[in-house]
């Protein structure tokens, strides 16, 4: 890395374009920084000259309340957008960890997948328009402010999950949706012997929860249920629907042998957000968190295989299984950073031998850059590399941060 790194905080699109064009010409490498909440994803840049912060690119650009459309600059904190929409009885299922710091641009660029996506759809499907600045300073717009648009390629969605390697997102236009009027968090202990049946029951529910998790460790998100783990389910909708969902959940879990359940109405969303925050939470410098995406019916068997593996390496483990989508979040740690460091690389090898797609979403340990943080490159990686060449031939943006060395 260079001895002198420069931090730039451009205040508008034109300033971003000028900065990038000049860096690109000078062959300087640029890292794009949002709120830093997902800094545990991706590799560090292979070289870094300028950090481009979106901290001054904030604010709502358009709030078309009657159209259920909102547009904001990339550096706008997710919480600000969510609060604005909430006042209008609208929402977008961002489900971003640490929403007070997470930015719109960062959340989109990281392709963050939230737990409510099975219910409300993916964040990318709310993106109806974008403005991006390419490495050479080209400012390009895609889509617009209408909810249906098939004029040309869907460039906006292509930028989602591109990790800032195709261009710097400076504005995103989103469609919004009516906010469910009520929310309830449903909690129950989940003893080992009831787990399989309980999850089968959950996935067969008529009124599906907006999100449902089995949490083991993570202090079972604020309610320590010993070693059993807990089921936490977020119910959203009208009062009448919540009542019915609660009854259905209770009886389904009862049939599975789950002994007791309770519900929280005040603070249900806060409870949900603490679970999402845990996805990227670190235990000092002695943890790494993996995220895997098996189909829902394979999630528990996947988690159990991982547990055996963790046991073999004598690491500590904490797990969240997103019952509705199938995601498995596994945090491995050890008592001290040194002990962790001696094990984690071998564990990472073994994990990827079994689960090639496992990604790392959090972890401050110095070994992290040497792990397979994106998992195995997907089919199509060669085309992805070619895309990178077309968009950023000098490898100016986030060089080496993305999958397959992109």
């Amino acid at each position: 890395m260079n001895a002198v790194q420069h931090r730039a905080v451009p205040e508008n699109v034109q300033a971003v374009a000028t900065l990038l064009a000049s860096c690109d010409r000078a062959r300087e490498k640029v890292q794009v920084a949002g709120g830093g909440t997902l800094s545990g994803m991706g590799y560090p840049p292979e070289r870094l000259d300028v950090t481009l912060s979106t901290a001054a690119l904030t604010g709502i650009v358009a709030n078309e309340r009657a159209d259920l459309v909102v547009a904001a600059q990339a550096g706008t904190p997710i919480r600000d957008i969510a609060n604005l929409l909430a006042v209008q009885s609208q929402f977008v299922p961002f489900d971003a960890p640490h929403a007070q710091y997470a930015t719109l641009g960062g959340t989109l660029a990281a392709g963050w997948l939230g737990p409510r996506r099975h219910h409300y759809g993916r964040l990318r499907d709310y993106l109806i328009g974008s403005t991006i600045v390419l490495a050479d300073g080209t400012v390009a717009r895609a889509g617009g402010m209408v909810v249906k648009n098939v004029a040309g390629y869907d460039m906006s969605r292509l930028y989602v999950g591109s990790f800032g390697t195709l261009g710097v997102l400076v504005q995103a236009n989103l469609k919004t949706t009516p906010r469910p009027p009520h929310a309830r968090l449903f909690l129950a202990p989940l003893p080992e012997e009831t787990r399989d049946r309980a999850c089968a029951q959950l996935s067969a529910l008529r009124v599906t929860p907006a999100a449902a998790f089995w949490v083991h460790g993570f202090n079972a998100i604020d309610g320590d249920d010993g070693d059993e783990g807990r089921i936490l389910a977020l119910l959203e909708g009208s009062d009448a629907l919540l009542e019915r969902a609660t009854l259905e959940l209770r009886s389904a879990l009862g049939r599975a042998g789950v002994p007791e359940t309770h519900v929280i109405d005040a603070g249900a969303h806060e409870g949900f957000e603490r679970i999402v925050d845990a996805y990227v939470g670190c235990v000092g410098q002695r943890s790494v968190t993996y995220r895997l995406y098996p189909p829902p019916d394979a999630a528990f068997s996947c988690a159990l295989r991982l547990h055996e593996l963790v046991h073999r390496f004598a690491l500590r483990r904490e797990t969240i299984v997103d019952v509705m989508n199938g995601d498995v979040v596994l945090r491995v740690s050890d008592l001290d950073a040194h002990a962790f460091g001696t094990k984690i690389e071998a564990f990472d090898d073994a994990l990827h031998a079994a689960e090639p797609g496992a990604q790392i979403v959090a972890g401050d340990h110095p070994s992290r850059p040497y792990l397979r943080v994106w998992g195995a490159p997907p089919p199509g990686i060669e085309r992805m590399r070619e895309l990178k060449v077309r968009f950023d031939p000098n490898r100016t943006l986030n060089p080496g941060c993305f999958i397959g060395g992109i």
């Binding site: 159209d67 098939v150 004029a151 629907l241 997907p378 077309r390």
Partner: protein, 461 residues
Amino acid sequence: MLRDRLVEALGSDAVKTAPEDLAVYAFDAYTDGGLPSAVVLPSSTRDVSAIVKIARDCGEPIVARGAGTGLCGGAVPLAGGIVISFARMNRVLDLDERNRRARVQPGLINLALSREVANLGLFYAPDPSSQLISTIGGNIATNAGGPHCLSYGTTINHVLGLEIVDAAGDVFETSIDVAGYDLTAAFVGSEGTLGIVTSAWVRLMALPESVRVWVAAFDDIDSASEAVSAIIAAGILPTALEMMDVVITRAVEAAFHAGYPTDAAAVLLIENAGFDEDVEASESAIHTIAVAHGARSWRSARTKGERDALWAGRKSAAGATGRIAPNYYTQDVCVPRSRLPQALRAVGEAAHENGITVGNVFHAGDGNLHPLLMYDKRDRKQVAAVIETGNQILQCAIDLGGTISGEHGIGWEKRDAMTRVYSTADLAVMARVRDVFDPMRMLNPEKIFPAGARCPEVAPP
């Protein structure tokens, strides 16, 4: 030479070159194109790969074709080339009930998938009006919409991964559940210009427990469109919110007796589906807004039969206009939903000014207009008037902050209009994507990108 090689690779049964066969593939639901050099009907991904390699060797462009129901000339060859028809690749390959997904071949008819999974309590949500004949491959190419997009989203929201044959004949897969660029998103809606989809994983949804359909009648179009804007502004997103004007309801009733009032200037067809409690409660909220905006009658479909009849009428509306004029042209624009009243007024004025009969039948809740312009294509003056009217409607949508296509695509028809909504830089960025997948412009050439776009397209980045 071309024919010999294709026959050698696929067998004579899969290759058509007789003029009377080729003529069938020279048009879609928009207009005539040119005759292809050959039409091939592959049965497998391997066949498609072989066709692409032969086409490359022979310098023939390729146009992939589903059912040919496209409304913008996207599936027609313009001068020679090979048309790949997916009529024989029309099966469900995998059905994963527990994870609610299916892998299908591109030639599978949209509605056939929903019918196949109905006994599992599932359905495939995107429902273009052509769903009785249009294919999932074609729907993917155009990112097709439909009335129920209002709550379920367009095709892109329902595609989980693709198998693609690229312009070199190589096969690769995409998935939205792996790290890396979202190639699935790039391909859906790319109108066959980036690669050829040979199979797709699509999302299935649970059939709703309760479905209600209502018809609200209005004495003028303005009131009906204001009611739509008000329903959306109130934060109510029904499953579908469609509008038809009197020109359309009269044609539909004459043809199908679907159950629409024929003495109202405009009707709204409103569907809400979901859980009993919510659907029940939504009726009074929507009804109140409709009445406040001048709805003079409100009818609830009592039976599944009544609901189905109303929907069948709606989805057959374009065909019903055959009673009004020998030909019709469907414009497809989308505007911000609060601008619907202005957009509809402008449509009426443009049609009046040019002496054209217009019928409106469209996805009002999405702001997605479909004015049907009636004409007789044997009369040159009428043809010119229709073109002018369509053009004025396009410009009006742009002026209102809208787009030149909400769901039908750009194809050949609207490619030159792309410069009216995108800058040269915007288009050049799209062309960078195309450079990766089809650098030689062999796949559906002359579509999407404006004529003469080649220069900025290949300008060095």
